[in-house]
Symmetry: C2
DNA sequence: GCAAACTATATGAAAATACATATAATCATA
DNA sequence: TATGATTATATGTATTTTCATATAGTTTGC
């Protein structure tokens, strides 16, 4: 109601940072996730747990290493997150039958239910985000991000 | 040379996650930053320190709270990062003359030198990233991210 | 079938981060 | 000008995250 509260813009209006690609990516990622992440926490999950759930929703029975890769986290961190999720009854560990080193993670019934619900909410939220953009921007943003990602994967494959 | 090493894609090829906007944003942000962040650490800085330096490069003398906002970090974290940067001689704290609660942060000469060098490197790296994209994607990506950001700021202003 | 190299996961310990709250300065106003 | 509300920063503490490395299973080459 009042305009008193000093409004601090997202970044200094002018200067390097505010139009720096890596800043825009980080800021957009954070800002866009903010509302949905609130929702995730309301459902009693932490963000890393939600990421694991989303991956398992797509493909149940992933290995620790694969989860680390897909969920953009370090292996030892995934191991501990899985520990907690097992305790909470969201997932179970099973040893791979052919390679005893591998541990495959499966959603429990409760985990399935929760992940389905959250994925549904995530899709709805994504639509909301895209509706806030011009049709041009809405059309362009994902392809641009995917192009950036794939150009970087190419580089990573050069080893 | 060999194709033996199992190639793990960035995310399950199919399914929800791999084309989910929030995933693409987080993954693109992480992947795009990766190389440059290596460089930052080679220069002896941690990533949060670099972010602070970049903000101060744009606008020296920012307050703790402003730094937290611009550098996408929590206030108490900024306070401790500044502690370390002061110890390292990269910045100094000065009390604001008109409002004694405020603490303004200024780059030292060493901090200025380092931030200039890193900003130059960041700009060069950004050009490299954009060169890896089609001209369409390169042209579209920043406006799309900025549009997303500003659409979200509008929402945040509704309180 | 054994040793060495490799891969997958787990774990110990240090460091970073978040969350709640303390401290201190300013502001509004009666 | 005292009081309560507000703002800016700092700090205590618990939790999370990282980093290095341990453990255990597998593969390769002899």
């Amino acid at each position: 109601m009042n305009g008193n509260k000093t409004h601090i813009g997202t970044s200094p209006a002018t200067g390097f940072v505010s139009s720096y690609l890596l800043y825009l990516l980080a800021a957009a990622s954070e800002a866009a996730s903010k509302q949905f992440h609130l929702r995730v926490r309301e459902m009693g999950l932490r963000i890393p747990e939600w990421r694991v759930m989303a991956c398992l929703h797509d493909q149940d029975g992933l290995m620790i290493t694969q989860l680390a890769h897909y969920a953009l986290m370090e292996q030892s961190r995934i191991t501990r997150i899985i520990d907690q999720m097992v305790t909470r009854g969201l997932v179970v560990r099973h040893n791979d039958t052919v390679d005893g080193r591998r541990v495959r993670i499966y959603l429990t019934d409760e985990g399935q239910a929760l992940s389905s619900e959250l994925v549904k909410a995530a899709k709805a939220h994504e639509l909301q985000l895209l509706k806030g953009l011009s049709s041009d921007d809405a059309r362009n943003i994902k392809p641009a991000l995917q192009a950036l990602l794939s150009s970087l994967e190419d580089i990573a494959d050069l080893d």
